[in-house]
């Protein structure tokens, strides 16, 4: 009499757990280890397309992205780190809280240089003409992927449960998790 309820309870618990597994695991992982550099598999290089660099200019080219940012947009920690780095490295100086100013808005559907993660990564690494500095070599690739994931969350490209909530700061607009998805429109402004 006692075992059937327990066994049924056990099965129910397993079913619930496995249905949560698909979403929960990846979102909540905190991978602190530094991702491997993989110099053994050299990647093609690209020139910097901006004259501007932070601190002192480097002369080396940047490496093209490996992959399309897998593992960053599904991971809440990485996106939150991207938000922190956006604040730290003064992206708001040109892009404000996403509304733009000296630089273009990041919360809209216009992506002059492409909205795919690899394209945003390249934009940050190589820089772009008309003012976007080239950060290649000044930030680690891990950091740039985190920034990429965050930038894409600003126009609602990420899942609602992974996008960040509000910051502990003055709020200019709604939290990224509450923004509706702006499907990217390619092409110039």
């Amino acid at each position: 009499m006692r075992t059937p309820p327990l066994r049924m309870a056990g099965t129910a618990v397993l079913a619930l757990a496995s249905s949560l597994a698909l979403c929960a695991c990846e979102r909540e992982m905190r991978r602190f280890e530094t991702p491997p550099d993989n110099r053994a598999a050299p990647r093609p290089e690209a020139p910097r397309t901006s004259a501007l660099q932070p601190a002192e200019a480097r002369s080396d080219p940047v490496r093209l992205p490996a992959g399309n940012g897998e593992g960053y947009e599904d991971n809440a920690y990485n996106v939150a780190q991207g938000k922190r780095l956006y604040r730290w490295f003064n992206c708001a100086g040109c892009h404000a809280q996403g509304g733009g100013g000296m630089g273009p808005a990041l919360i809209d559907d216009q992506w002059r240089y492409g909205s795919e993660p690899a394209q945003v990564f390249s934009t940050i690494m190589q820089g772009r003409p008309n003012g976007m500095p080239s950060f290649g070599g000044h930030l680690s690739e891990d950091q740039v992927w985190q920034l990429t994931a965050y930038v894409r969350s600003m126009s609602g490209q990420l899942r609602k449960d992974t996008a960040p909530g509000r910051a502990d700061a003055l709020q200019a607009n709604e939290p990224e998790a509450a923004r509706d998805r702006e499907p990217a429109r390619p092409g110039a402004k």
């Binding site: 009499m1 059937p4 309820p5 049924m8 618990v13 619930l16 757990a17 949560l20 597994a21 929960a24 695991c25 979102r27 909540e28 992982m29 905190r30 602190f32 809440a76 920690y77 996106v79 939150a80 938000k83 609602k160 449960d161 992974t162 960040p164 909530g165 509000r166 910051a167 502990d168 700061a169 003055l170 709020q171 709604e174 939290p175 998790a177 509450a178």
Partner: protein, 662 residues
């Protein structure tokens, strides 16, 4: 034979005769009818639909005990990591999840629920009635608690457990510094468990006030009942604070409110006030039932009624009131006005006085009694050593200057375990050994019980006493590792060795409990020679608790037989008879004097509490991910609650017939 089968097929219905009434003792057809009426329906569906308080309480106790073991295992892993400096057994992220889960499990999933579960089992038996008030609500509260606990552990199994401490301070737990849904699961677990606790509190209060045996005036109820009554009132006032706090945290994280955002007018300290306004009474919610256990165990094993009953009751009530005036002592390191903090120092020290009254009354009882050194008494004696030591370190922590040195260090870890384990877990184990014969009909092994006690006592002190010294030597709390050469190495290793002894003791308890189920000596109705009403009925009690509700004439009804009538004849009233045996009917009595007041019809077993709990679970878990879940999730809840309360024609017909012709 035919009748019995018919009775089993339709619980609560007997074919003929239609108006059996209770009163005759066990063995009579009326008693059989009563048992059939109050028994849970058979099969899986019957198990899920049960509303009998003993059935719900048994599974509730087993569930909370499973959480206790889980929480203990988490702590065991933490101690393994801390045994050596710079150990790499567990990294910082997992460690933070471990201590958050350990604290949350012990505080929310074990300590308060187990006390409520034991109360739900014992109170009707102690008070001389057949059920708790609101039996379906009681069942719902259990299911909600279970689902909340399962949710938390499911999330832990997925590596996504909350990792910001059981107290979850903002801004660390806020949306900016705690990405993902980890903290949201914690906050929603709060909602589950606090809802369960609030509902159980309502059940307890109503049971103690209205469902007592005639003659059991309020100043005759067992001190355990007083302890649970006072605890339940505390729950009503304390739990809403944490529910409010966790709800505002969820809205900050989910929809971007600014309760805890200083830049937009919020305040991180608001969280601390809300949380600790609940958090301090919470520890008294855990402590007071322990005091109730002691007041049940000590008189029995000192073979005399408790000394100072009235003082004990007043001490419980005083403790409860004072407990709401202490919360800022968790915040002494915050820049709050010093004069205000001094007020909380005074209150924190003065709350020791009602506890001192209780301790001295127990000692007076033991002094003037004749002692029976069984295992329950051993655990009660363990309380005196451990709780008093913990209470005295509490006096130290009550002082602002002292607290500013040892706050958030291992000194506090030592203190809290001394008071919680000494004040609640030791009495709880004593209570297990004391009431196990009543619940199962068999005695636990005394030999294993002694080993259990001594291993626990020694292991506990070896684990936690060194932590006082660690705190004084500067070791903070909630650290996943520490550096070598700071003078903390040996003490940490000793504490870890102690944790092995505690683990062994817990294992012994489980072995004892399981083995005694089959091989324990059969216990009669009253193996300890105790005086309270639960020992008047069989072990285990029949489904209806009492075949004839007793009339009570004193505080220890089994010790004080009813007095003879004025003319020397037999005592006028010893039992109540005439309640229906074919439907669940109870006698409600007045609050103060327990004079018979109403005959109340109680509901039959029903699946709707479980279904409602599932619907509420869907709403709660959904609202972690989207605020719309509150809207969509209300619909299944409305349907389930409607079905729950919809009157059943057959049941109502039986009740109406009883009203017209009792």
């Amino acid at each position: 034979m035919n009748d019995e089968r018919a009775m089993q097929q339709q619980p609560g219905r007997t074919p003929a005769p239609p108006h059996l009434k209770d009163g005759p003792g066990p063995g009579s057809p009326e008693a059989a009818a009563l048992d059939a009426t109050w028994r849970d329906p058979p099969g899986l569906l019957g198990w899920l639909a049960a509303v009998n308080h003993k059935a719900i309480a048994r599974r509730f106790i087993v569930t909370t005990f499973c959480f206790f073991v889980a929480g203990g295992l988490l702590a065991f892993v933490m101690r393994l990591q801390l045994a050596r400096p710079g150990a790499r057994l567990v990294g910082p992220d997992l460690y933070n999840q471990l201590f958050t889960m350990h604290g949350s499990t012990m505080m929310f999933l074990f300590a308060v629920p187990v006390m409520q579960a034991v109360a739900v089992y014992l109170l009707p038996l102690m008070l001389g009635t057949r059920s708790v008030a609101f039996p379906r609500l009681n069942a719902f509260a259990y299911w909600i608690f279970l689902f909340g606990g399962l949710m938390l552990y499911a999330v832990f199994a997925l590596g996504a457990a909350p990792d910001v401490g059981w107290f979850s301070y903002v801004p660390l737990a806020g949306p900016d510094y705690s990405p993902g849904k980890r903290t949201d699961f914690w906050a929603q677990m709060i909602t589950f468990t606090e809802l369960s606790a609030l509902l159980e509190a309502i059940v307890v209060i109503t049971t103690v006030f209205k469902l007592r045996a005639p003659g059991m005036a309020l100043n005759r109820i067992p001190l355990f009942a007083w302890a649970m009554l006072v605890t339940a009132f505390m729950v009503l006032f304390a739990m809403p604070a944490v529910m409010l706090a966790s709800t505002t945290l969820i809205t900050d994280r989910l929809v971007g409110t600014h309760f805890y955002n200083p830049a937009e007018g919020g305040d991180a300290v608001l969280w601390q006030h809300l949380f600790w306004f609940f958090g301090h009474p919470e520890v008294y919610l855990i402590f007071l039932p322990g005091l109730g256990f002691l007041s049940a165990i000590i008189p029995t094993f000192a073979r005399r009624p408790i000394f100072g009953y009235t003082a004990m009751v007043l001490a419980l009530i005083a403790t409860a009131f004072l407990a709401f005036g202490l919360w800022v002592h968790h915040m002494f390191a915050v820049n709050l006005p010093e004069l205000g903090k001094s007020f909380f120092t005074a209150a924190s020290m003065l709350i020791a006085i009602p506890s001192a009254v209780q301790i001295f009354c127990w000692i007076a009882t033991l002094c003037s009694g004749r002692l029976d050194f069984k295992t329950p008494l051993l655990f009660a004696l363990g309380f005196f050593f451990i709780l008093v030591l913990g209470g005295l370190t509490g006096i130290m922590l009550a002082s602002v200057p002292l607290d500013l040195q040892v706050h958030d260090s291992y000194f506090v870890v030592a203190h809290l375990h001394y008071v919680l384990i000494g004040g609640a877990v030791f009495p709880l184990f004593g209570a297990f050994y004391y009431w196990y014969p009543k619940i199962t009909g068999r005695l636990m092994s005394e030999r294993l019980g002694r080993w259990n006690f001594w291993l626990f006592f020694v292991g506990f002190n070896v684990t936690f006493f060194p932590m006082h010294l660690l705190g004084l030597r500067g070791m903070p709390r909630r650290v996943y590792t520490y550096q070598a050469g700071l003078g903390w190495d040996t003490l940490n290793l000793v504490a870890t060795l102690g944790s092995w002894i505690i683990a062994l003791s817990a294992l012994l308890f489980v072995v004892n409990a399981l083995r005694s189920l089959r091989r324990g000596a059969p216990a009669g109705p009253n193996p300890w020679g105790a005086g309270t009403l639960e020992w008047a009925t069989e072990s285990p009690p029949p489904p209806c608790n009492f075949h004839a509700i007793p009339v009570v004439h004193g505080r220890d009804p089994l010790w004080e037989p009813p007095r003879a009538a004025a003319d020397g004849g037999p005592p006028p009233f010893t039992h109540v008879g005439g309640l229906a045996a074919h439907t669940r009917e109870l006698l409600a009595t007045t609050v103060l004097d327990a004079r018979p007041d109403l005959r109340v019809n109680f509901p039959d077993p029903t699946i709707w509490p479980l279904v409602s709990a599932l619907a509420v679970t869907v709403l709660f878990i959904g609202s972690i991910f989207t605020p719309w879940a509150v809207v969509w999730g209300s619909i299944p809840i409305a349907i389930a609650l409607t079905a729950w309360f919809w009157p059943r024609r057959a049941e109502t017909a039986v009740h109406l017939r009883l009203e017209q012709g009792p």
